[in-house]
């Protein structure tokens, strides 16, 4: 069975601001594979290259070297994105549209039939609890509400793979729990979820496997239980150790 | 989303608004305020530029007269003066031909772009008629508002108003307005006299106005060098007045006036004949008694 995500020796450089400045390496020989039906946590400190890697998977950024595949299709092909749902970090959706109109627009992009669209929009807005404000323009939403609109749009095509960039940022504890529930439900439906997060607690509860990256390289990868067993501490400690943070000796 | 568009929209709007408000308000304020007041707001705002605008609007009237068939500054090295609408006074066939020649500015197209582009521009030389001359009036009105010292505007507008549009009263009011702004203009006096003579058949007033026009002419033009004098106007006034006096039976004055015209005329031969004719008539009427 082909891997849902296959990344081989990926390298991404951002050009320097001017000639004299050398290019900045954001991803440096990163290899990774995500198997079908997995919930995969993509961890790493700020600036490690998580978003950049996802941008390559979605075709926004061109790799300087290496290759990446979604369902065995090279990410350069637009068709590779038919079966995925994507939640970007920090997005302001078309603020003059209402949540309902936004979802309808994306459904049209996927070519979902009208009746089916209506059904899905109802279900999704219920799922993310935005039914009461579905006819209000998005510009009147709070940050957490906007994040939930984002989650709903990522699910509009009933995707087989979800790529979520920090899905819980900006959400209250209840909202985070809901996101966890959604992820777990999707897993039960047999979907694959690839997400980045800084909330190691929730990663621990929902993820099958994690990869910890730092400075554009995978530093550690494996099942959460295996890692915890290997380092003999909780995931947060594992993370800190892997990225090379030495706790002050007094502790 | 930042409202990127707004500054531009507003800037463009402001520009149109300025132009349009200029067009809109001015004729209205003109009606509201007393003419005696020293200079209107627009005149103050625009300063000397108003002459330029006044000229622009005067030309605009000429463009209208030609229904959009008009040379741009690129079409000819020297632009023709807007002679067509000013051709209110006697004009000969020569002038018509000269005008035709001037207006044949298009010429053969230089390339396919120009040839194809001709489909989308007015390429026929026409003049307004059948009351459509009224369409020129707003521009002339505006021109007069901007530059009340431009005498031509009043005479031209009055000509069209009374001869083609049947608006004698409006023509009279406009000429009076012009006269208030230019008390020593023999051109306006002459035109006003024509209005009284031709439209109102008021011989007395016409005579008075034309006599006044002659006096104004000599006051203003008499002092100038012979080469710079407006002899064309002098001839016109004198000939008209002479005709009037002739029909009124004042042959001696008529002869006197024709002799004045003769001195101003570039082609005095025709006048010589008329003078001779009048002389003959005069001697005819005077000898039996």
């Amino acid at each position: 069975m082909t891997n849902v995500i296959e990344i081989r020796e990926l390298r991404v450089e951002y050009p320097g601001r001017n000639r004299s400045e050398p290019p900045r390496v954001a991803v440096d020989g990163l290899s990774l594979s995500v198997r079908p039906g997995e919930v995969f946590g993509f961890l790493g400190p700020n600036g490690a290259g998580k978003t950049t890697t996802m941008n390559v998977l979605l075709g926004f950024v061109n790799a300087t070297g290496g290759e990446a595949f979604l369902f065995g299709v090279n990410v350069r092909e637009p068709i590779a994105r038919q079966r995925i749902g994507y939640l970007p970090e920090l997005t302001y959706y078309y603020r003059f549209l209402t949540a309902e109109e936004l979802l309808r627009f994306y459904a049209r992009i996927f070519g979902i039939p009208r009746a089916e669209t209506d059904r899905r929009i109802d279900a999704l807005l219920k799922l993310v609890e935005l039914e009461s404000v579905r006819r209000r323009p998005i510009k009147t939403y709070s940050k957490g509400m906007q994040q939930r609109v984002g989650l709903a749009q990522a699910l509009i095509n009933n995707p087989d793979l979800l790529i979520l960039d920090e899905p819980t940022s900006g959400l209250d504890p209840l909202g985070r729990m809901k996101v966890r529930e959604i992820i777990q439900r999707l897993k039960q439906e047999g979907k694959t979820v690839f997400f980045s997060s800084h909330e190691l607690g929730e990663v621990e509860t929902v993820c099958d496997r994690v990869a910890i990256i730092s400075q554009g390289r995978v530093r550690e990868e494996g099942r959460v239980s295996d890692l915890v067993a290997k380092y003999r501490c909780d995931l947060e400690r594992v993370f800190l150790k892997v990225i090379g943070y030495e706790p002050p000796s007094g502790n | 989303m930042k409202p990127v568009a707004s500054p531009w929209a507003w800037l463009a709007l402001l520009a149109t608004a300025v132009f349009s408000i200029g067009c809109t308000l001015h004729p209205r304020t003109a009606a509201w305020r007393e003419r005696a007041a020293s200079g209107s707001i627009l005149q103050v705002v625009l300063g000397e530029g108003r002459r330029l605008f006044a000229n622009h609007f005067f030309v605009r009237a000429d463009v209208y007269f030609h229904s959009g068939y008009y040379p741009s500054i690129f079409d000819q090295a020297q632009k023709p003066a807007p002679t067509a609408i000013s051709g209110t006074h006697e004009r000969s066939q020569d002038h018509a031909q000269e005008h035709e020649r001037q207006m044949a500015f298009l010429g053969p197209p230089r390339d396919w772009i120009e040839r194809f582009g001709r489909h989308f521009r007015v390429t026929e030389h026409t003049h307004l008629a059948h009351g459509e001359e009224r369409e020129m009036m707003p521009w002339l009105r505006l021109s007069a508002e901007l530059d009340p010292q431009r005498v031509e505007t009043y005479t031209v507008a009055a000509y069209w108003l009374r001869t083609r549009l049947g608006k004698v009263a409006e023509a009279r009011d406009f000429l009076r307005e012009g006269l208030r702004n230019n008390p020593d203009s023999y051109e306006i006096l002459f035109e006003l006299g024509r209005l009284y003579f031709e439209n109102d058949h008021d011989v007395v007033r016409a005579r008075n106005l034309w006599e006044l026009a002659l006096r104004r002419w000599s006051e203003r033009e008499g002092r100038k060098q012979p080469g710079e004098q407006d002899l064309f106007s002098l001839e016109q006034i004198a000939v008209r007045l002479a005709r009037l006096e002739e029909t009124e039976g004042n042959l001696a004055r008529a002869i006197q006036l024709l002799e004045l015209a003769r001195r101003a005329s570039p082609a005095p031969a025709a006048l010589d004949a008329q003078i001779a004719e009048l002389r003959a008539k005069l001697s005819e009427t005077s000898t039996p008694r």
Partner: protein, 296 residues
């Protein structure tokens, strides 16, 4: 195609949820109505000055709407990052370009429709019976009035009177159609510019200058070139043949002065010309956009 229309739909929604269009329309209407109320020598039939000012305002408004709407499309998608969820869907970048173009163009078309309807109503309510067609038939000679001797010298034969248009609506329709076609080129141009110039405001400024320049000078560049010395002359000639001749699409003079409509053939050719130019610019825009990395 459905994807293109979906993207276009969002653009149209945006335009009609913003105030720009309404402000411009209300201003145009207000100025026109105010001007219409001015009394010139007690002649209520005078209409052409009103047509001219109204059309001028329509032209300015339409270009402002088209340029500002188009200029902000892709930059604001980037700034608000909506381009990311969009491109994460199975749309190609060509479809995004085409969708944005279609949206702006259709939105401009709707705006034009509203504007020209207003214009037609105004001009017909005013001069409607003032310039009837049958009168033109009797145009051979003006009856000599009492002042025939000094009647206008051009009357006899040397030139015609402007023939009244048999059906002004046809000219209005033609004028609006060509205007819309011109906007297609303008929108494609601005879309291309928005991928080259970083800031939408600088793009809009440059485009306003370019469009204004073409409309005012485009047709005269060849004549101007003739009067220049060598290097300048060739540059101007090249420019003359390279620029899209937007001034062809300006039928305002035909509308204002009641000229008969332009023949069908040239109209169709001009439409094809606009389509070709728009397509060319869209392909150029796509070539720039195609391989562009989108960074967060």
């Amino acid at each position: 195609m459905n994807r293109v229309l979906a993207i276009a739909g969002v653009v149209i929604r945006e335009l009609y949820r913003r105030k720009d269009f309404y402000v411009l329309f209300v201003l145009t209407a207000l100025i026109t109505l105010l001007l219409g109320a001015v009394n010139f020598f007690n002649d209520p039939k005078i209409v052409r000055y009103l047509k001219e000012v109204c059309l001028l305002l329509i032209w300015i408004s339409a270009v402002v709407i088209a340029v500002t709407t188009t200029a902000r499309q892709i930059p604001s998608e980037k700034e608000n990052r909506t381009i990311f969820p969009l491109l994460a869907k199975p749309v190609t970048r060509w479809e995004v370009i085409l969708g944005k173009f279609a949206g702006c163009w259709l939105a401009a078309g709707i705006a034009l429709l509203v504007f020209y309807l207003f214009f037609a109503v105004i001009s017909e309510s005013r001069g409607g019976e003032g310039t009837p067609a049958p009168k033109a038939a009797a145009a051979t000679q003006v009856a000599p009035g009492p002042q025939a001797h000094d009647d206008h010298a051009h009357e006899p034969g040397c030139c015609n009177h402007a023939p009244a248009s048999p059906n002004p609506w046809l000219v209005y329709l033609q004028g609006a159609w060509l205007h819309w076609m011109m906007l297609a080129v303008v929108i494609a141009m601005v879309l291309f510019g928005s991928l080259i110039f970083a800031a939408p405001s600088s793009n809009a400024t440059i485009m306003f200058i370019v469009i204004g320049g073409i409309l005012l000078l485009g047709e005269h560049l060849n004549k101007v070139a003739l009067r220049q010395t060598e290097p300048v002359q060739t540059i101007l000639q090249i420019l003359y043949f390279a620029i899209p001749h937007l001034e062809w699409f300006d039928l305002r003079d035909f509308i204002i002065y009641d000229h008969p409509p332009v023949a069908f053939g040239p109209c169709a050719l001009a439409t094809a010309y606009a389509a070709a130019y728009a397509l060319l610019l869209l392909v150029a825009a796509w070539l720039v956009f195609r391989r562009k990395g989108l960074t967060t």
